[in-house]
């Protein structure tokens, strides 16, 4: 159980060669072995969605996977959402619409919403609400999170149309 395995996690385009026990969760490896602490841990049983990351093309809960299962796959975390100093439209919208208070659930919501809008930029509102209801927030009452995601979706659609 305590034997360590060599793997490489690819996070936001950078390779992290690490040695972990097979039982180490992906979220612990991202945080403790790769130093990317923007991904938070809220329940470790797959309900709160605080640890949501994008693995290849899917939003997943990093507490429900072992690090070894992510070897060789592409991981995106909140640290990779902005392009340099230019914030992602979702990040800007969360600030403008006061979509965060303590900020602990925010990275999970950002990655969840970013993935939903990437998968389907023209996503119907009802489906968006369904997806966003898979994560928990204890501060905002969700109202401003929805406002922010809707605003960012519109902005991203308009930017795409202008291209």
């Amino acid at each position: 159980m305590n034997e360590k395995i060599d793997i490489t996690l690819t996070i936001n385009g950078r390779d992290y060669p690490i040695r972990v026990e097979a039982r180490k969760t992906l979220v612990d490896a991202i945080r403790d072995d790769c130093g990317q602490t923007g991904t938070h841990i809220g329940c470790e049983h797959g309900i709160c969605g605080t640890c949501t990351i994008i693995l290849d093309d899917d939003a997943v809960r990093a507490c429900l996977m072992f690090a070894v299962q992510a070897h060789g796959r592409k991981i995106r975390t909140v640290e990779g959402l902005a392009s340099g100093d230019a914030l992602h439209p979702l990040q800007r919208a969360f600030i403008t619409h006061h979509g965060l208070q303590c900020g602990f659930c925010t990275p999970g919501f950002l990655m969840l919403a970013a993935n939903a809008l990437e998968q389907n930029p023209d996503i119907e509102d009802d489906e968006l609400l369904d997806i966003l209801s898979s994560n928990l927030c204890r501060c905002t009452g969700y109202q401003n999170i929805i406002k922010a995601v809707r605003a960012a979706a519109i902005e991203m659609r308009e930017a795409r149309a202008a291209e």
Binding site: N2, E21, R23, K24, R31, Q36, T37, G38, T39, H40, I41, G42, C43, E44, H45, I47, C48, T50, T77, V78, E79, L81, A82, L87, Q91, F94, I95, T96, H98, L100, Q101, C102, G103, F104, C105, T106, P107, L110, L129, D130, L132, S133, S134, N135, L136, C137, R138, C139, T140, G141, Y142, Q143, N144, I145, I146
Partner: protein
């Protein structure tokens, strides 16, 4: 010493930044993953702590075998109570101290007995958190089971050595209740209960202890809420001077009253850091959090109300059974006291008598959660008022309106007979005006017709109301330090705390408005005991009011100093000058001669000739003192729809109407009110810490403890008013942290009654689908209130 009454402060439109909905200073690191929460803090060579917890709700510890755990490679130490026998139990805050309650304090590790499932029994310190968990599982604890007490309305058990489990019997009363009962046209008695639930922040607790032997300083990282007060308690417990123990707050993932109190784990990491001479990190897992962090709210009320024929209140009497859980933690008996103190709310109640039994049970210890005692008492008061309306055949709103304390009666004092019970001096408010505004904004009249129509069509829909008072800004004092540097940047050091509520932005706005700078130039420091000696922290909606008062006072001192020197440099008098955007100009000639605060800061640097004996630096350290609590107030309105097949209650609409005196930042206040409201909906409908007959907790994951998701959350409308600025605050401020949650239980209860067509049906919270179904089964039989 206190000042005031203060003149009515100007509205936001006459201000530059105070009162404006500006975006937060806090947000950039938080949306980019650069925040630093307790779990993100690491020190080289650190150990990880894991707590071995009781698996029995009540029992005598026969033996604890730590040999297997200690033998595991990588385990540095395993402690039981025998290893910390000299450490006092977790102490009360200084202002909550009471000799009579001391026997009920919790030891950091159980001594002789375990009293709830989750009670810390042993602590393991290891090189790696996974290893620490492995080792903890090897600790063998033998327990001889004892009978459990699981309800505060059952006869109290024995705590130990013949000491009763009724830790305290508290009283609040005034007026002649016997005479009120004799004179009553109608007396209504209700048996009501609020369920056990809690704040449950998304970030679990965390604590990192570090001993810097080179400087002989012990540090606690991951602190929150009340760093300075906690330092006092920790110094007392660990025998250190305040200069040798520092408490550091970083980002905090939600507080809600439960985080930031001193718990066993905080003391253990400090003691271990001292003894093992390595940093010690502890991060709670969710299961531990749900079993060990403070629970709250669970009370049973046997309440009576006496009214005249018109529904005017003659008196209220209440016997409260407060389920304290296994120990009395840092707040002492604050929650039952606040419950009794605030039970009469916004109503004129000529006679009042409340009695609270504070009883220990074999469940997780309970303490404060957002709007402590108010969520509970507003539910009770609302149930009483609805029952009066029903019994006398009056409109629910009309009964309430008849009993509201009038604006002309302000300030309105409620003084209790019991010595030492603080009186309430309601400072300002026009409760009826807010009620009218809320009803109009919600469209209450039309709504009643609409609901009637829908009920006739077979839907189970109804509306409910709650009216409440909040309390905030209790003194006595707080302070702030402000310094402007040679670049024009402003550093504001406070003893406040930030739990995610936007404290930094609010303080920066107050500082910026008073001083005359851009709020984004203000860097706000909080929660660092090594940077400022005193601080009130962030609790009981104090931060904005009290610390905000201190920031205002201090910024005014810096402003005065800046104007004094600017006057000399610009050959004017201070009264002729103004500061805006960090630049001093003449009031009558904004484009005339000017000097920036940055330049003034350079000109008054130590050694400057300009000083001529005056104190250098563009800086000040100011204090704000007050003897007064300020009382904001609110109205909650809700409509619900009940699915008769499943018993599920869907909240269709909710309005929070709230008078905040003066808003520092309406964007942040609305965020507080909506967020609080949704937490309240959880407590009213789904969240409950239930136990089985052996004391086994049944809600230990988020699959059992059901917090609202976006799908259960209605669009919450906010009506924020500023009709009654506090005359006791220089900026007219009142607190906003708890106004969103206070009345939710009361309003939802009334709405469910209305939807079921069963007045008085709701007697307990939460109204889970099971309980609603139970009520639906009774619909066939006529209901007796």
């Amino acid at each position: 010493m206190t000042q005031g009454p203060y003149p009515t402060p100007p509205p936001a439109r006459a201000r530059n930044v105070l009162g404006h909905p500006v975006t937060r200073l806090e947000d950039l690191p938080l949306v980019t993953g650069r925040g630093r929460y307790a779990g993100d803090i690491n020190f080289p060579h650190q150990l990880h702590m894991r707590i071995v917890r009781s698996a029995h709700a009540h029992g005598r510890i026969v033996s604890i075998d730590t040999a297997g755990a200690s033998a595991l490679p990588g385990v540095a130490a395993v402690w039981t109570n025998a290893d910390i026998a000299d450490l006092s139990p977790i102490d009360f805050r200084a202002d909550k101290s009471s000799e009579a309650l001391k026997p009920f304090r919790q030891p950091a590790l159980a001594r002789g007995r375990v009293r709830y499932i989750g009670d810390p029994v042993a602590a393991v310190f290891a090189e790696d958190p996974y290893l620490a968990e492995d080792a903890a599982e090897l600790v063998q604890v033998e327990i001889e089971e004892l009978p459990v007490v699981l309800s505060a309305s059952d006869p109290p058990g024995e705590f130990e050595g013949g000491r009763s489990g009724e830790a305290a019997l508290l009283r609040h009363s005034y007026g002649d209740i016997e005479a009120a009962l004799r004179a009553a046209h109608t007396i209504i008695e209700l048996d009501l209960a609020t369920g056990r639930h809690s704040g449950v922040p998304l970030e679990t607790r965390g604590a990192i202890g570090r001993y810097d032997a080179a400087r002989d300083i012990l540090e606690l990282h991951g602190a929150a809420k009340i760093p300075h007060r906690n330092r006092e308690t920790l110094c007392r417990m660990l025998g250190r001077s305040p200069a040798a123990l520092h408490v550091h707050e970083s980002h905090v993932g939600g507080g809600f009253g439960i985080r930031g109190e001193i718990y066993p784990e905080d003391v253990l990491v400090l003691l271990a850091a001292l003894r093992l001479r390595r940093p010690v990190k502890w991060v709670e897992d969710r299961r531990e959090h749900l079993m060990c962090a403070n629970h709250s709210r669970q009370q049973r009320h046997l309440a009576r109300i006496a009214v005249d024929r018109d529904g005017r209140i003659l008196g209220i009497e209440d016997e409260i059974f407060h389920d304290q859980g296994a120990y009395i933690r840092t707040h002492g008996v604050n929650v039952p006291n606040r419950t009794m103190c605030m039970l009469t709310g916004a109503y004129r109640v000529p006679a009042y008598r409340a009695l609270a039994h504070v009883r220990l049970t074999n469940k997780t210890p309970a303490a404060t959660y957002r709007a402590p005692g108010r969520f509970e008492s507003t539910f009770v008061r609302g149930r009483l008022m609805d029952a009066v309306a029903d019994r006398l055949g009056l409109d629910r709103i009309e009964v309430r309106r008849r009993n509201l304390i009038a604006a002309s009666e302000m300030p309105y004092t409620i003084a209790f007979d019991e010595p030492g019970v603080e009186e309430l001096e309601l400072d300002s408010g026009d409760y009826a005006a807010l009620l009218d505004k809320a009803l109009a904004a919600f469209g209450w009249q039309d709504l009643q017709q609409d609901l009637k129509r829908r009920r006739a069509a077979g839907e189970s829909v109804g509306a409910g109301i709650a009216i409440f008072l909040e309390e905030s800004g209790r003194g006595p004092t707080d302070n702030a330090k402000i310094a402007v540097d040679g670049s024009g940047a402003v550093e504001l050091v406070t003893g406040g705390a930030s739990l995610g509520q936007g404290f930094e932005t609010a303080m920066a706005q107050i500082c910026a408005e008073t001083l005359g700078v851009d709020y984004q130039r203000v860097r706000v420091i909080h929660g660092q005991t090594d940077l400022i000696d005193h601080g009130i922290g962030a609790h009981a909606a104090r931060a904005t009011v009290l610390t905000g008062g201190a920031v205002h006072v201090t910024a005014a001192m810096v402003r005065e100093k800046a104007l004094e020197f600017a006057a000399e440099l610009l050959q004017a008098t201070p009264a002729e000058l103004d500061i805006a955007g960090g630049v001093v100009t003449r009031r009558d000639r904004k484009d005339g001669p000017s000097i920036s605060l940055a330049e003034i800061a350079k000109r008054v640097a130590p050694g400057s000739k300009l000083l001529r004996g005056r104190t250098p630096q563009l800086a000040a350290h100011g204090w704000y003192n007050t003897d007064h609590t300020v009382f904001p107030y609110g109205v909650h309105l809700a409509t619900v729809r009940i699915d008769r097949d499943t018993g599920q209650v869907a909240v269709e609409r909710f309005m929070v109407a709230y008078d905040v005196g003066r808003a520092v930042n309406p964007l942040l206040i609305e965020g507080q009110l909506v967020g609080g409201c949704v937490q309240g909906l959880g407590g009213a409908l789904t969240e409950e810490f239930r136990y089985d007959a052996s004391g086994e907790p049944l809600a230990v994951t988020f699959a059992d403890y059901l917090m609202p998701t976006l799908r259960e959350t209605p669009d919450v409308a906010v009506l924020l008013t500023e009709d009654a600025p506090s005359p006791h605050h220089p900026l007219g401020l009142k607190g906003a942290g708890e106004g969103g949650i206070n009345g939710v239980g009361g309003a939802i209860a009334g709405a469910i009654d209305d939807a079921l067509g069963m007045p008085g049906a709701v007697t307990q919270l939460p109204m889970s689908p099971q309980r609603v179904k139970e009520l639906l089964r009774q619909v066939g039989s006529p209901h007796e209130a």
